[in-house]
């Protein structure tokens, strides 16, 4: 009997322990501010531990179910940083809305743990369990405001559709399990497919693949599996939208990289076509429908759909170049979304939620700094140089053109042009329209403000000097 090597799993163990400690502290302590501090300390602790356990070589443990490679280390570190910033952004909002911080942060840490598990899973069962840990935590976070009808409705929608998607994913996995001779290990699946390559690809595999792709893109939110995104973005409290809109995307993309590029790479000729169709549909519907939205959360929901379309385009180029640009895109998108939702959270006070685009009218005269920051994030999402959104889109388009898919790149550019309309409309509302509503800034501390400014300026800095982050992303893949 040999015991598994627990060293590479230390950050996960630390996170799980701290979650339980936070639950206990919440039950026995009356001081609620301790919990926020504990949550932040947990994230810092995970960051330090992650650096401590990382090594240049790939580490496997738990019967090769857990993998710690450079991809896992890099994306986990980003997840910690983004979570840390997100917790600081929503801290005041939680108190304003009278959400119990103990429950909120404990469930949030469960969600982050789910992301960590997904990021470093090397087995389909583990991938699935991590996904469930993340999704269940998200359903709970949205529904935490029980008296808010919209929030409970969107939690219910998300829950039922998410459960259906999980069922579809599992059904697909069961077929892959059967067709590869009883393998759930991603590497063994590749090996078994290589061994039986001469006999051609079994129809059962493609059958399972169709279900797996459907389940995966539901989590990413590509058309036609996107219906939950606008409802959930609109219905959930801003604090939760911040988490869903920014943090979860990185884990979802790493999940897809492991599953499709890692496990089912020999079927790439099938799933690239599927993803191509879905990505083009997402770019089209996401951008067109976003124009009709008056609620900024809903608009950002549709904008997410179109951005995820771009991410899926990166997958179609099954090469180091394509995957690097996908990772770069999703990391920078998460940073942008975090800043956007952080600003909206800062503009919400005393039960008022900054939701309608009309609320933002004349923001430049009342709060010039926030208006400027929001303008930067909108321009970055629209892909206007020198902000990072431009470079991220450019990388993906360049990868597409290099593989001869120029017509797809042209289509994506036209769709982003249409998309630029609704981002710039927000800027127009802030700078050129008369004020209709007095927006009060929540009494956030100076540190949060500085963090907001830094976060937004990061878009500019990465946009001008992208090579550092790109080299970093390339190291994950290599």
């Amino acid at each position: 009997m040999t015991y598994p090597n627990l060293f590479p799993v230390l950050p996960e163990i630390f996170m799980a322990l701290m979650t339980i400690i936070i639950l206990l502290v919440d039950a026995f302590s009356a001081k609620k501010s301790v919990i926020t501090v504990l949550t932040l300390l947990t994230l810092i602790g995970c960051f330090v531990l992650q650096i401590h356990v990382s090594s240049p070589s790939t580490q496997l443990t738990f019967n090769d179910m857990f993998i710690l490679d450079s991809l896992a280390t890099g994306t986990k570190l980003f997840t910690y940083i983004l979570s840390f910033v997100a917790v600081i952004y929503v801290r005041r909002y939680i108190i304003d809305k009278e959400i119990n911080p103990g429950e909120f942060y404990a469930i949030l840490l469960f969600a982050i743990l789910g992301m960590m598990v997904m990021i470093s899973a090397d087995n389909m069962i583990v991938l699935y369990v991590g996904l469930e840990l993340l999704s269940l935590a998200l359903y709970g976070l949205i529904a935490l405001q029980r008296d808010n009808v919209k929030a409970t409705e969107s939690a219910m929608k998300f829950f039922i559709l998410g459960a259906l998607a999980s069922g579809i994913l599992l059904y697909g996995i069961s077929f892959i399990y059967g067709a590869t001779g009883g393998n759930l290990q991603l590497e063994l699946i590749v090996r078994s497919m290589l061994a039986s390559q001469e006999q051609g690809i079994s129809p059962l595999l493609t059958f399972g693949l169709a279900f797996v792709v459907a389940g995966l893109v539901f989590k990413l939110g590509l058309v036609p599996f996107h219906m939950w995104i606008p409802d959930v973005y609109e219905g959930s409290p801003l604090a939760v939208t911040t988490m869903i809109g920014s943090l979860t995307k990185i884990a979802a993309v790493v999940f897809m990289i492991r599953f499709l590029v890692g496990g089912l790479v020999l079927l790439s000729m099938y799933w690239t076509i599927m993803l191509l169709v879905l990505a083009m549909l997402s770019l089209f519907f996401g951008n067109i429908i976003a124009i009709a939205q008056t609620n900024i959360k809903r608009m950002l929901g549709y904008s997410t759909i179109s951005h995820m379309g771009f991410v899926a385009l990166g997958f179609i180029v099954v090469s180091v170049d394509g995957i690097t640009s996908t990772l770069f895109y999703v990391i920078t998108y998460s940073i942008t979304a975090l800043a956007t939702f952080g600003i909206l959270t800062a503009l919400s006070k005393d039960g008022f939620e900054c939701e309608s685009i009309d609320d933002l009218k004349g923001l430049s005269s009342s709060h010039p700094v926030y208006a400027f920051l929001l303008m930067l994030t909108m321009f970055s999402m629209a892909g206007i140089p020198p902000l990072v959104g431009f470079y991220a889109k450019f990388k993906i388009l360049a990868a597409l053109v290099n593989t001869g898919l120029t017509w797809v790149a042209v289509f994506a550019v036209i769709m982003s042009l249409i998309g630029a309309f609704y981002y710039i409309r927000v800027v127009k509302a802030m700078y050129f329209d008369e004020k209709v509503k007095d927006i009060q800034v929540a009494n956030i501390c100076v540190g949060t403000k500085v963090l907001l400014v830094l976060n937004t300026l990061m878009l500019l800095v990465i946009g001008i000097f992208p090579s550092y982050l790109i080299d970093y992303c390339q190291k994950f893949i290599g």
């Binding site: 009997m1 598994p4 799980a16 339980i20 639950l23 738990f62 019967n63 179910m65 857990f66 119990n100 429950e103 404990a106 469930i107 469960f110 743990l113 598990v117 087995n123 069962i125 583990v126 369990v129 991590g130 469930e132 840990l133 269940l136 935590a137 359903y139 709970g140 529904a143 935490l144 029980r146 399990y177 059967g178 001779g181 009883g182 079994s202 129809p203 059962l204 493609t206 059958f207």
Partner: protein, 205 residues
């Protein structure tokens, strides 16, 4: 046709019929009972495959616990079934079309591939029982996902409590045990000195 295949077809037919009735039964209690029957037949199928432990767990957990709870909820909440069926006929044509296309595609793919090999047979050499082997695998090879599954359960517990427990709810009553234990006669009784009252005959009537 030997007895095993006859049994298989009988159970499968019952299972499919029950599945259909679950979604078509008018009365939700009937639907739930058909689901119970579906679980029992599915567990019979598993029993025939030699998975005794899973078959019994299915009955214990799903029939014994989940469905009983479900029946309670259905009976206690007076669900207006008719309102749930609104739009059924309106949406049926599209749903039927999509369902037929999807199932036709699935059947076509499966028919292409008649040789489906059995995978993951249990080790024929083993003398251990089904549940023994399962436990052995779960706590050695699959210890990591089992640990994670326990965290998922803990999360479910936390979320359920967070969604239902409200300290601020006026209707909720809570016991403070330390206060209850530390009472003595002085906190429970207060002696009030007052004069004896004399009832007046005239007012009584």
């Amino acid at each position: 046709m030997d007895i095993t295949s006859i049994l298989f077809y009988v159970f499968s037919a019952i299972l499919l019929f029950c599945g259909l009735r679950v979604i078509t039964a008018k009365n939700p209690v009937h639907a739930a009972l058909y689901l119970v029957l579906a679980f029992v037949t599915a567990s019979c199928l598993w029993m025939m495959l030699g998975a005794e432990f899973l078959a019994l767990t299915l009955i214990l957990v799903y029939v014994g616990a989940v469905m009983v709870l479900f029946l309670f909820v259905v009976m206690m909440l007076d669900v207006d079934v008719e309102s749930l069926r609104n739009g059924f006929w309106k949406n049926l044509p599209l749903a039927l079309l999509l369902g037929l296309v999807a199932s036709a595609e699935m059947i076509l793919v499966i028919l292409q591939n008649p040789q489906i090999t059995a995978v993951a047979n249990a080790d024929p050499e083993t003398t251990l029982s089904n549940s023994n082997v399962l436990g052995w695998v779960l706590y050695t090879q699959y210890s990591y996902p089992v640990e994670l599954a326990s965290l998922v359960l803990l999360l479910g517990l936390v979320v359920a409590v967070a969604l239902t427990l409200r300290k601020s709810d006026k209707a909720a009553k809570y016991q403070n045990i330390s206060k209850q234990v530390s009472v003595d006669s002085k906190t429970r009784f207060t002696m009030v000195k007052m004069d004896a009252e004399i009832e007046q005959q005239g007012e009584k009537q």
